[in-house]
């Protein structure tokens, strides 16, 4: 790198000048950091300070800029120099704000600052400005899988934004479940009456839209590629297969009603007069077509009493049925009860529920049901007993606290809930060997991905995502779920959801075109570069990538799909031979930093503890500890990492070999309620670190010398405590015996 | 200020030698000072109170209230009806609201009223005397007439139920109405604003039929007044006044307490503060004597 020219800037503002010898820092930057330009400034983030840096870049040819001032999280607008590589030495939050302002502490504080300047300079030497993804492609066409309300909405909304869409629908018609409804629950004030489903209008709009192509009676036989350049085989029932290219995919494959046949105790299958909610809709449509009231299925007799059993096969803690609540069923039963009440107020309709769940304006619909005379009873149904043309519904009245029954129910409607049509659970089915890929008829997407054919699932068969803050971010970039396949929902929510998913798909296309990363490292232009010549085909990267971005070729070499990549570096952390790197983040950039730290000899009684901190939660928490002037041990040297998943064990062994006395790894919570922004990163790191004990034993080191912590961004008070406790622990077990050998 | 005129609906307890005759006397004294002319609705009838439902459904009860409106509309046109009794006011107002909301009910009512040669038009408003004081005068104006501030006297303001719910005084809360306290303060007395039994039910009409249950309520109401250091209770409701005063002896017998807490009307306070005599304030109507008020009434005016 002949043309590397490092410029280092030491800020004296915010007390740095008073607390530190900035002259010494400048000298270190110059002598050890090999900075060609070194400048001190009283107020570096000021317009004048920033102009100084800009001038050095433009006029002096600085290619690499080290800024020794505040945290990389602060003053980001000021220190934005996109044309050069930039590193930040965190002297403010990371040194003077977390160290006491005392004479006794002065030396250790200065040493900290010295090291951070060394680290910033040495990191820089191994950094390049990311050139952007060479794999960029932009196909402004979306694939929508599923032609129900969600799918049609996604298609129409994307089309309105100027994108072409193909809808692939398995059945012979558009409309999905909503088309089978007689009416829907109202979505607008006054929330009193069942409303038209609107499906016919949606279908008409889709059919009239020249931007939308509909392929009915078709399924996806194969999906390969990446955002911006998906290649999809669409197989028609007729046997014909067409291959089309898309920029992004919306999966709106909806739900299947839970199989009521699993509920014989509730009478299903034992009498035609016991139906599920879908069955009641069919009765209502049939009745409407004939222009008469809904009749009793068994004999066509008059319906005088209808009982609605809520939570049938749902909210079940026995493990036999669905454990979750489908959310829409209470309102649906109210709507269905109105079918009867609106036609004939003399029909008795009773809804048996345990919690009536009609959030938001659903409360108005509930009131409307009550005012129409629908009776609501808090009751736990124990049995539905058909006998002739009538059923007896036995239940515990939870309010009157007694076992009771409704005799002579002409119709019993079971609210059975939604089961997502999510395809195959890739964690449960074996994966095809490279070169042996075959489509699976149970799969929705038939992804030709190394890690499996459908989207990874979270719980209960719904697609995995950070479902609170970032509900759309699936683990397959460019493929977004919408509607009840994402979580149980009603039509109104599915419409919102599909509109949002369409946006995410459009965004994926735009990101791919620009070679940018998607959430959470949005806009990141770096991407993993692999030196295949060093690769041992161990498959760790292809297996561990949380986003399924890496495929394998037939020789089992990894094939990176940059626009599927989220830039977490888990592959880099996994690679035993260290052939994967980003231009601005690599085994070398971190390795250089930890090696830049001066390790005092064993007589100095100054331990050194390396902290590898996740930049998403742990590092901000440390920053905020500094902002609150919380003091922690001056023996730590903190290096932020993209994700704990990117931590390569070589860093640990390098650090210990160099004489560090301990290594702390700080990452996010993993497990069921994981908080890792890269889903699996912290979990994988935890797994890798569980294996590190052997390495330590080989090095004749105590196992305590490497410690992992689950840390949250709010641990502002806890982190300094953890650090101090760990430093004390190191004090107990003594300094590393490896000092001076590194 | 010009004389204010109202159609007066005194109710069955407020007449001469009725159980709330002291209320009537003190209201008349108070109104004299305020230059208010109350003209009794000629031939007014009972409102049905709150415990007449065994005798009839709601229509008959609306009809008897509508009769009073009809009389006032005919004989005292243009005047608001003013009631001093909580139940009278509540029942009249309930009827007014219901008849206003239902054309059917209005027609039925008028069909019945025709038997008495009357018609309800819904032109008159019915108001509680307290509303008149607060809305037509205001605390400031009421305060200007004070010549004997009730200094050093601590009052537990017991609002009770029916002047408070379901309609209440505009702008006041159901759980913690403040107007009585403000009236007390306006008269120069000390209001025990934290008195927490101010809206507790005294049992109402059931003090007669369910004495034990009601007296438990009354005990709480009086006890808390003592806890807060009250010299007396003040109330706007004749039934509250009667129940809380009369049954203290029974409560004492039952619970071994030694209650002797005077229970007065706001109008008695105001009469005294306005310089009226004990007789004008009808303090001679107290079964438990309101000594502190009597003392002030006996003193010469300050201004």
């Amino acid at each position: 790198m002949a043309d590397t020219k490092i410029a280092a800037y030491i800020c004296r503002g915010c007390g740095l000048g008073e607390r530190l010898s900035t002259g010494q820092l400048a000298k270190i930057a110059e002598k050890e950091g090999k900075a060609a330009i070194v400048r001190e400034h009283d107020f570096l983030c000021s317009e004048a300070g920033v102009q100084l840096i800009r001038d050095d870049i433009e006029k002096q040819g600085a290619t690499h800029v080290a800024i020794a001032a505040c945290s990389r999280r602060a003053k980001t607008e000021a220190f934005h120099f996109p044309t050069v590589a930039v590193s930040r030495a965190n002297l403010r939050e990371g040194v003077i704000w977390c160290q006491p302002d005392t004479d006794a502490a002065r030396e250790a504080t200065q040493e900290m600052a010295d090291d951070y300047v060394r680290m910033a300079c040495d990191e820089l030497k191994r950094m390049k400005v990311p050139a952007g993804n060479p794999d960029a492609a932009r196909l402004r066409r979306l694939l929508v899988v599923g032609g129900g309300v969600s799918g049609m909405t996604a298609a129409l909304e994307a089309s309105k934004a100027g994108y072409a869409v193909t809808i692939v629908e398995k059945s012979g018609a558009l409309g999905g479940w909503a088309a089978k409804l007689w009416k829907r629950t109202p979505a607008h004030e006054p929330f009193r009456e069942p409303a038209d489903t609107g499906v016919a209008a949606l279908v008409a709009a889709v059919e009239a839209d020249p931007n939308i192509t509909v392929r009915l009676a078709s399924v996806i036989a194969r999906t390969s590629g990446a955002p911006g350049r998906f290649s999809v085989d669409i197989a028609a029932e007729s046997g014909a297969t067409a291959t089309e290219a898309f920029g992004a995919i919306v999966q709106a494959t909806g739900f299947t009603p839970y199989d009521a046949a699993k509920l014989p105790e509730l009478g299903f299958g034992r009498s035609p007069n016991v139906v599920d909610q879908a069955g009641l809709e069919a009765l209502a449509r049939a009745a409407a077509a004939k222009g008469g009231p809904i009749r009793r299925p068994s004999d066509g007799g008059e319906v005088k009493t209808v009982v609605f059993v809520q939570c049938a096969g749902q909210r079940d803690d026995s493990g036999r049925h669905l454990p979750y609540c489908s959310g829409h069923c209470c309102a649906t039963s109210i709507k269905q009860a109105m079918y009867f009440k609106d036609a004939n107020p003399a029909v008795d309709t009773v809804v048996l529920y345990t919690d009536l769940r009609v959030p938001g304006n659903g409360e108005d619909f509930y009131r409307s049901g009550q005012s129409k005379g629908v009776v609501f009873s808090k009751g736990q149904v124990s049995a539905v007993e058909p006998s002739g043309d009538a059923c007896t519904v036995r239940f515990r009245d939870l309010i009157l606290d007694e076992d009771t029954a409704i005799e002579n129910a002409d119709l019993v409607v079971l609210a059975t809930g939604q089961v997502p049509n999510a395809g195959v659970d890739i964690d449960q089915v074996p994966q095809d060997e490279p070169g042996q890929w075959r489509p699976d008829s149970r799969s929705v997407l038939n992804l030709a991905y190394r890690q499996g054919k459908d989207l990874p699932l979270l719980r209960h068969g719904f697609s995995d995502s950070h479902f609170i803050c970032f509900p759309y971010e699936t683990r397959r970039t460019g493929i977004y779920t919408a509607g009840p396949v994402r979580r149980p929902m009603d039509i109104a929510q599915a419409v919102e959801d599909a509109t949002g998913a369409a946006l995410k798909a459009i965004q994926a296309i735009e990101n791919a075109a620009a070679g940018r990363a998607a959430h959470p490292r949005s806009g990141d232009l770096s991407f993993p570069i692999v030196r295949l010549e060093g690769c041992t085909q161990c498959k760790r990267c292809t297996v561990e990538c949380p986003f399924g971005a890496i495929d394998e070729d037939e020789k089992r070499y990894p094939v990176f799909n940059e626009s599927r990549c989220r830039r977490c570096g888990t592959c880099m952390g996994a690679c035993p031979v260290r052939v994967i790197a980003f231009e601005n983040y690599s085994v070398d950039t971190v390795g250089a930093q930890l090696k830049a730290v001066e390790i005092p000899d064993e007589f100095a009684e100054k331990p050194r503890i390396l902290v590898l901190a996740c930049e998403n939660d742990a590092y901000p928490a440390l920053d905020m500890a500094g902002m609150q002037r919380r003091v922690y041990s001056a023996f730590v040297r903190v290096i932020p990492v993209r994700c704990l998943g990117s931590v390569n064990t070589i860093w640990i062994s390098d650090a210990l070999n160099r004489g560090y006395d301990g290594v702390m790894l700080m990452g996010c919570k993993h497990g069921d309620d994981y908080q890792c922004h890269f889903v699996k990163g912290s979990e994988l790191a935890n797994y890798r670190m569980s294996k590190i004990d052997d390495t330590l034993k080989q090095m004749a080191l105590e196992t305590e010398r490497v410690a992992s912590y689950e840390v949250a961004i709010t641990d502002i008070e806890r982190l300094p405590r953890l650090i101090d406790e760990y430093a004390a622990k190191i004090g107990e077990i003594g300094l590393s015996p490896l000092k001076g050998f590194g | 200020m010009a004389k204010k005129e109202y159609a007066f609906y005194p109710g069955c307890t407020s007449h001469y030698r009725g159980s709330a005759s002291n209320y009537l006397v003190s209201v008349e004294s108070m109104c004299k000072t305020l230059d208010v002319k109350l003209t009794e609705i000629p031939d007014w009838n009972c409102c049905g109170a709150s415990v007449s439902y065994a005798g009839s459904g709601e229509l008959a009860r609306h009809v008897i209230n509508a009769r009073n409106f009809a009389l006032a509309e005919r004989d005292l046109p243009g005047q608001d009806i003013v009631a001093t009794c909580a139940a009278c006011w509540l029942n009249a107002r309930e009827t007014k609201e219901q008849l206003g909301a239902s054309a059917q009910l209005l027609a039925d009512t008028n069909e019945a009223l025709k038997e008495a040669g009357l018609q309800y038009r819904g032109e008159s408003e019915v108001r509680h005397m307290v509303e008149v004081l607060i809305e037509d005068f205001g605390y400031e104006a009421l305060g200007e007439k004070v010549v004997k501030p009730l200094e050093g006297v601590k009052f537990a303001g017991y609002v009770g139920c029916q002047t408070n719910r379901p309609f209440g005084i505009a702008g006041e809360s159901f759980e913690n109405p403040m107007y009585l306290d403000r009236l007390v303060e306006t008269m120069g007395g000390e209001a025990l604003t934290k008195y927490e039994q101010k809206v507790t039910c005294c049992g109402g009409a059931l003090a007669v039929s369910e004495p034990e249950k009601s007296q438990k309520q009354i005990k709480d109401i009086v006890e808390s007044a003592y806890d807060h250091g009250a010299d007396m209770i003040v109330t706007p409701c004749p039934l509250c006044q009667a129940n809380v005063e009369i049954y203290q002896a029974d409560v004492n017998r039952k619970y071994g307490t030694k209650f002797n807490m005077p229970v007065t009307y706001y109008s008695q306070l105001m009469t005294v503060a306005y310089g009226g005599s004990a007789k004008e304030a009808a303090l001679d109507g107290q079964i438990i004597r309101a000594t502190k008020l009597e003392e002030i009434a006996a003193k010469p005016a300050k201004k």
Binding site: A74, G162, P359, N361, C469, Q507, E510 | -
Partner: protein
């Protein structure tokens, strides 16, 4: 008046909470130009004041950090804080929006070093703690505040305290002469994401909020649980600082009530279930949480969390709308009166602290938005207007976070449709 910025290709996002930030980011990451305006001094909104989210019990600031980093990384978003929309003129595809910008008294020079706060002794109630705690009158709203820039409270401007703050700043960042400004900008479409506010608990008179110190709201309880809140994360009750081990959670405080809010506020049941776990976290087996409810509305996957809490022996459920809260005068313990409707058992339960699961109402009533939007009777924005002013998040309905994000993402596409059409027309 300051001259116009932005163009008809710009999307204006009003409100810098989770919905507004989401809308701004999703649009910006599609390549659109965005102006994000926020009334307070920082982005983050209501969720930034929550301790944890249900059902994962993760921390809202975790997602906030990511969103702030995305904002810092984006060149397409212009953030304006202390800014309020006062007028919207024009129509779909071509709006001129007038903003009123309140003075911060601190300019871009601020390094967030904190010297001004150190110099000032005047304190004000901390609005991010709902006034439960106090803070310096020169302040950074909270540690996650963005922009990371101090604010001088108007209360000390023109006083010696204000001068002290100014004198303490070595970077010329404090400008006490700042005035309210008016600014006009162009926008093709507007996403309205002004969020929600807690219903005024004092209006629910039988519960004694405001009269009894140990009756607080659910949003206030979040601040007690938060390590950065007024009690440093300890569950101490306001009257005497005693540990609140026995806590009552009162559902439908304002919601589902025609005397208050007609709608169900959707989040309150889950928020209370979550908060029972704060009590457990603090006091282990000594914790006592009682949830008084009408229906537990833990829909979809939230049911898992409800099932988990039901198994927690420290949590009791009582199906009852609490009738009245009284206070024991000696101990200031709140005493809840009501009837458990499952069997109609009467109770008078003493607790250390009562948390009212307070209902949601829109921060800005839809009728008060200076644009063509359809208002529902609760003040939320309903769909259906002809304009390109799109409601997002809790401005449209009582929503939890994931539904708010969903709503904001959908609103963003609607806005993009408008500006893309404008772009195609101009091309």
């Amino acid at each position: 008046m300051t001259p116009s910025v932005a163009t008809s290709q710009t999307i204006l996002v009003v409100g810098g909470g989770i919905s507004g930030m989401t809308a701004a980011l999703e649009a910006a990451e599609c390549g659109k130009q965005v102006v994000l305006v926020e009334k307070s001094a920082t982005l983050g909104g209501r969720t930034a004041t929550l301790y944890r989210y249900f059902p994962k019990l993760c921390h809202p600031t975790c997602g906030l950090e990511i969103n702030l980093r995305r904002i810092k990384a984006s060149r397409n978003i212009r953030v304006m804080t202390l800014a309020e929309v006062t007028k919207i003129a024009g129509s779909r595809g071509g709006y001129t929006v007038t903003l009123k910008i309140a003075p911060r008294y601190v300019n871009a020079n601020c390094t967030a070093c904190g010297a001004c706060a150190e110099a000032v002794s005047a304190e004000i109630p901390n609005p991010w703690d709902y006034g439960l705690g106090r803070m310096k009158a020169a302040y950074l709203p909270h540690t996650m505040a963005y922009p990371q820039r101090y604010v001088i409270d108007p209360a000390i401007v023109g006083t010696a305290e204000g001068e002290k703050a100014k004198a303490a700043c070595r970077y010329g960042a404090i400008d006490l002469g700042m005035r309210e400004e008016t600014l006009e900008l162009e926008a093709g479409a507007i996403v309205w994401a002004t969020g929600w506010k807690p219903y005024d608990a004092a209006k629910i008179q039988p519960y004694g909020y405001g009269r009894f110190p140990n009756v607080i709201t659910s949003v206030e309880f979040e601040r007690l649980a938060d390590p950065h809140g007024p009690t440093g994360g300890k569950l101490l009750r306001p009257s005497d600082g005693k540990e609140a081990k026995n806590v009552a959670f009162v559902q439908c405080a304002g919601s589902r009530d025609e005397n208050h809010l007609r709608h169900c506020s959707r989040i309150c049941c889950m928020a209370s279930l979550k908060q029972t776990q704060y009590v457990r976290e603090a006091f282990a087996e000594d914790a006592r949480s009682t949830v008084y409810y009408i229906d537990i509305r833990a829909i979809d996957r939230f049911e898992d969390f409800y099932a988990k809490v039901r198994k927690d022996a420290t949590v009791t459920f009582v199906k009852s709308k609490v009738a009245r809260i009284a206070e024991d005068a000696a101990t200031r313990d709140p005493i809840l009166h009501g009837v458990d409707t499952e069997g109609y058992r009467r109770y008078a339960n003493r607790h250390d602290l009562v948390v009212l699961a307070i209902g949601m109402e829109p921060s800005v009533k839809a009728a008060d938005i200076p644009a063509d939007v359809v208002a529902d009777s609760s003040g939320f924005i309903d769909a259906g207007a002809e304009s390109a002013v799109f409601g997002a998040g809790c401005a449209t309905n009582a929503l939890d976070v994931n539904r708010a994000v969903q709503s904001a993402t959908a609103a963003t596409l609607r806005a993009i449709q408008v500006v893309n059409r404008a772009a195609r027309a101009e091309a």
